[in-house]
């Protein structure tokens, strides 16, 4: 992987500057069933296509942001900072 990833703060940078936790997951809102928790913790869609992901600019500004990336081509379609919400939402 040598593609360029545009950080919302710093602009296009070599992907090796970033860390990722992979696709954005829907975290259960309240106590899930064991199956729901297992799905959330261990299972991924692993899409061959456009995927929304968390990225962290580890060797840069130190921000987490969201990116829409085509996992087949590594084309990054969109990046955005996470929404600023009311405390603890």
């Amino acid at each position: 992987m040598t593609f360029l990833l545009p950080c919302p703060h710093c602009g296009p940078r070599d992907v090796y500057e970033f860390a990722t936790t992979g696709e954005v997951l829907a975290r259960p809102k309240e106590l899930p069933t064991l199956r729901e928790l297992t799905d959330y913790v261990y299972f991924r869609r692993n899409a061959a296509g456009v995927q929304r992901e968390w990225w962290y600019h580890r060797l840069g500004c130190g921000s987490w942001f969201l990116a829409e990336r085509d996992t087949r081509t590594n084309e990054v379609l969109e990046v955005e900072l996470p929404p600023a919400r009311a405390s603890g939402a």
């Binding site: 968390w54 590594n74 996470p82 929404p83 405390s87």
Partner: protein, 859 residues
């Protein structure tokens, strides 16, 4: 024997140098390559071929073919035809047993042919299976390139940006570079030759000789600039790699003396060398045939010239003596010659474009493959686009008047027409499959001289056409690269604490702990343990991760992240905390001190500071609390002063009351110690009365010296391990792994399940009854020390593993931690440990051996 001085020659006859070829001293002029100087010295055989050990001579003189690979100063596979001659260089032949003239392995050419078609070892060397390592060794010895060895060399990497990167310094490339430079700065041109001059290209940065290795994702172009890898990112990439002269396929087409026009041209024009005495020229296009007058000018007799555009040739074969060309037979006409200049037309060098995503298709009118549909940001200029002029298409392979003679399609891998025919008969009827089977196009030239030829032959053998056969996928690298260049230099930083040099001065044995260098001990670990127990010790713990969390929501934020409770933590108090994931797995541990109403000081493990900080930042990107998270690890030093005398010494250096009432266990205070403002945390990882002092890094040596001056004995990681095992204090990552949970690690008391939410709570609530193993303390009588990872055995079956074990002088026992089955987690339960063949009897010890009630810690 040089020709008389010529206009435009590259050699400077006033400057001479010598290098060695084996035992021979070779004279060269400045401007010579190692190859041209060897040729001038009379050498004609430059290598022995990969498999059959046939003699091979200069073929292309452009650094593309495998024929001149030699070992230079211990570096294998150097293309000497383009490697500048250096005074004192030591050049050796490679892949020979004996010499280039008499290679004992050449027997494979005489007898091996019928028995060694491509892939023979997959079929004939399969039994007995045990013998494969032997076969493999023999094969590796018999076939191949140079041997890796010699002195290790250093390679570096640079990250570069350019507005326009031009690859190829021919006419079209230079014009493109100048045009781009007229529009603004940031233009770089890369050429594999050494002829480009910066003076001719104002405003352009010239990198030559240097080679673009490939075009990778995101338009990354790594450039090999002699032990320096330049990773280029350019807004525009202009590929001007030109076209590659193609050889012809006929019996004896690999004989020494068969050359491509480029080789003859360079020998004459650059180095004033006559490539032979009597030549035959056979060419498909103008550039190939234009060599005839150049040869005549150099005094070479051109016996015959065959223009395949005017009249196709039906039969063509070469005969040699001792591997060197002596006669060429063309359509029944035998011509004595020691030089044959052959040209099968020119094939655009499209690889970089194809790697960038261009489509490659056959141009039926030219019979060559051309790039189409260039991706954005990639341009092509010059011959690489397919503008190579009209020429004849040669036959895929010519036969001679009598059958026989090896016809090489691929010189790198010694693959012949027969090999490819056999592959087709065996069912490898797609070019990609055949490539993998025959390894045609997979040698050092990476298809530069065999891609087109193999395509044409395949089309003929399968009865289809070249367009249907297509071309194999172009992958980087398109030019041979030393592995060292790709590996680059090791850039992992070494982290040293601000007290590092004190440890060195004290004779500490330093070891790696993550990226940190830390003292293992100062020579006598047992004495250091005793000092902490009985008197006073000090350890540098600056490597601990240190994070400040500040803001109105700081308490709420931590409350939600940690399983423990922090909302009720009073200012000036400390709590041990463990971070878990949503899966309930232990991530890291450390202490959390509340040093202000909305200010917390968090410590992490030495390797965890960055990942914990990322973890905090990530959750706050989701929760968006009003907190600031700052990693202050590098800015602060920390030492742990531990032992019965620590209070007395701290009191003296702080000049204030540090009694148990003033600073009790798990208190955090800001004190000035030896004149340095410190955050003092009263905690006890090593199990004795102790204080962690955190303070600005630059004061590290001063604070250390002050404590040592009070009699504190420095102790290292090894005594710390003994001390903490006596207390059964775990180390996350050492005693736990990515599967460990709070319950399994014996910290069921820690999570506060009445909290509405924390990360990891669900897993505890849902996973309570699913405990599969438990981390427990154990003791064993002093004897064999169980290794880390040693197996726990119960009733003869594996039932766990040891994570840590040390001999405790104080206990007179081995103390350790191990994972066992949950039902064994009972005080005194026996089990066996198998370590290095020894069986050790151990028993579970749920309470720490040393100071089980923590009285010494609290005293």
């Amino acid at each position: 024997m040089r020709l008389p001085p010529r206009d435009g020659e590259r050699i400077d006859r006033s400057r001479t140098l010598t290098f060695r070829y084996g035992a021979q001293e070779i004279d060269a002029f400045a401007g010579d390559t190692l190859g041209s100087a060897l040729f001038a010295s009379g050498r004609r055989v430059f290598s022995r071929s990969f498999k059959y050990h046939r003699p091979r001579g200069l073929l292309c003189c452009t650094g593309h073919c495998p024929n001149c690979l030699m070992t230079v100063d211990g570096v294998p596979n150097v293309r000497v035809c383009v490697e500048p001659a250096r005074a004192g260089a030591v050049v050796r032949a490679q892949n020979v047993v004996g010499s280039l003239e008499r290679d004992l392995m050449a027997v494979t050419d005489k007898i091996g042919g019928p028995f060694t078609p491509v892939g023979f070892y997959y079929r004939t060397m399969i039994r007995p299976r045990r013998a494969w390592p032997l076969y493999e060794r023999l094969l590796r010895h018999a076939a191949g390139l140079g041997r890796v060895g010699g002195r290790p060399r250093r390679f570096d990497t640079e990250h570069r940006r350019a507005r326009v990167l031009v690859v190829g310094g021919g006419r079209a490339g230079r014009a493109a570079a100048l045009a781009a430079a007229a529009e603004g700065p940031g233009v770089v041109i890369v050429d594999e030759g050494d002829r480009l001059s910066a003076a001719d290209l104002p405003g352009v940065e010239v990198l030559a000789p240097a080679r673009a290795i490939g075009v990778y994702e995101g338009g990354l172009v790594p450039v090999d600039a002699d032990r320096l890898l330049l990773r280029f990112r350019a807004e525009r990439i202009v590929v001007a790699t030109g076209a590659l002269e193609q050889p012809l396929v006929f019996p004896g087409n690999d004989l020494v003396g068969v050359m491509l026009p480029s080789a003859a041209r360079r020998l004459v024009e650059d180095w004033a060398l006559a490539p032979g005495r009597r030549a035959v020229v056979i060419g498909c296009d103008g550039p190939g045939l234009d060599i005839a007058p150049i040869l005549e000018d150099a005094g070479v007799e051109v016996a015959r010239r065959f223009d395949l555009r005017e009249r196709p040739v039906r039969a063509l074969a070469a005969e040699g003596r001792k591997g060197r060309l002596v006669r060429l037979t063309v359509d029944g006409e035998a011509i004595d010659a020691d030089l044959a200049i052959v040209s099968g037309g020119r094939q655009p060098a499209y690889s970089l474009l194809a790697q960038a995503g261009a489509r490659v298709e056959l141009d039926p009118s030219l019979g060559i493959f051309v790039p189409r549909e260039l991706p954005p940001g990639i341009e092509a200029v010059g011959a690489v686009t397919g503008e190579v002029g009209a020429g004849a298409t040669p036959a895929p392979a010519y036969a001679g008047p009598k059958p026989g003679g090896k016809r090489f399609v691929c010189l790198c891998e010694d693959a012949t027409v027969k090999d490819l025919s056999r592959a087709v008969r065996e069912g490898f009827d797609s070019l990609e499959l055949a490539k993998r089977y025959t390894t045609v196009t997979m040698g050092p030239c990476q298809g530069k001289l065999c891609q087109l030829a193999s395509n044409r032959l395949y089309a003929q053998l399968t009865g289809t056409d070249s367009a249907a056969i297509g071309s194999t996928t172009a992958r980087p690298p398109w030019t041979p690269v030393e592995l060292g260049l790709l590996a680059g230099r090791h850039h992992e930083p070494t982290k040293r604490t601000s007290i590092h040099f004190r440890h060195e001065e004290a004779g500490a044995e330093l070891l790696w702990a993550g990226q940190w260098k830390r003292p293992h001990s100062y020579g006598d670990a047992a004495a250091e343990v005793r000092a902490v127990h009985d008197d006073l010790g000090v350890i540098d713990v600056s490597t601990l991760g240190k994070i400040l969390i500040e803001g109105p929501d700081a308490a709420t934020f931590l409350e939600r992240l940690y399983p423990n409770r922090f909302a009720d933590l009073k200012v000036g108090r400390i709590r041990y905390g463990v971070l878990t994931s949503d899966g309930g797995r232990i991530l890291d541990d450390g202490t959390v001190a509340r040093i202000g109403e909305s200010l917390f000081y968090v410590t992490t493990t030495s390797t965890g500071s960055e990942s914990v900080c990322e973890w905090f930042e990530w959750w706050n990107a989701i929760w968006v609390y009003d907190v600031e998270i700052v990693n202050v690890t590098g800015g602060l030093a920390a030492v742990n002063l531990a032992g019965p005398r620590s209070r007395e010494v701290l009191g003296r250096l702080a000049g204030t009351d540090v009694s148990n009432e003033a600073i009790s266990y798990l208190d955090a205070r800001e004190l000035t110690v030896a004149g340095v403002p410190c955050l003092v945390l009263r905690i006890g990882f090593v199990g004795e009365l102790g204080y962690e002092l955190h303070f600005a890094s630059p004061a590290g040596e001063h604070v250390w010296d002050s404590l040592v001056g009070e009699g504190a004995r420095p102790f290292g990681l090894e005594p710390q391990r003994v001390l903490r095992l006596e207390k059964q204090h775990i180390i996350v990552g050492q005693d736990t792994d990515s599967e460990s949970t709070l319950l399994s690690a014996g910290m069921g008391w820690l999570p506060k399940l009445d909290k509405e939410e924390f990360v990891g709570k669900w897993a505890i609530e849902l996973g309570r009854e699913r405990l599969r193993e438990r981390l427990v303390g154990f003791t064993a009588s002093v004897g064999e020390l169980p290794k880390e990872g040693a197996q726990v055995v119960v009733d003869g079956r594996p039932a766990g593993r040891v994570t840590s074990a040390r001999r405790s002088e104080r206990a007179g026992l081995i103390v350790g931690l191990a994972w066992v089955e949950p039902d064994r987690a009972q005080e005194g339960a026996p089990f066996a440990i198998r370590s290095d063949g020894a069986t050790i009897a151990a028993q579970v010890a749920l309470a720490p051996f040393y100071d089980p009630q923590g009285e010494r810690l609290r005293s």
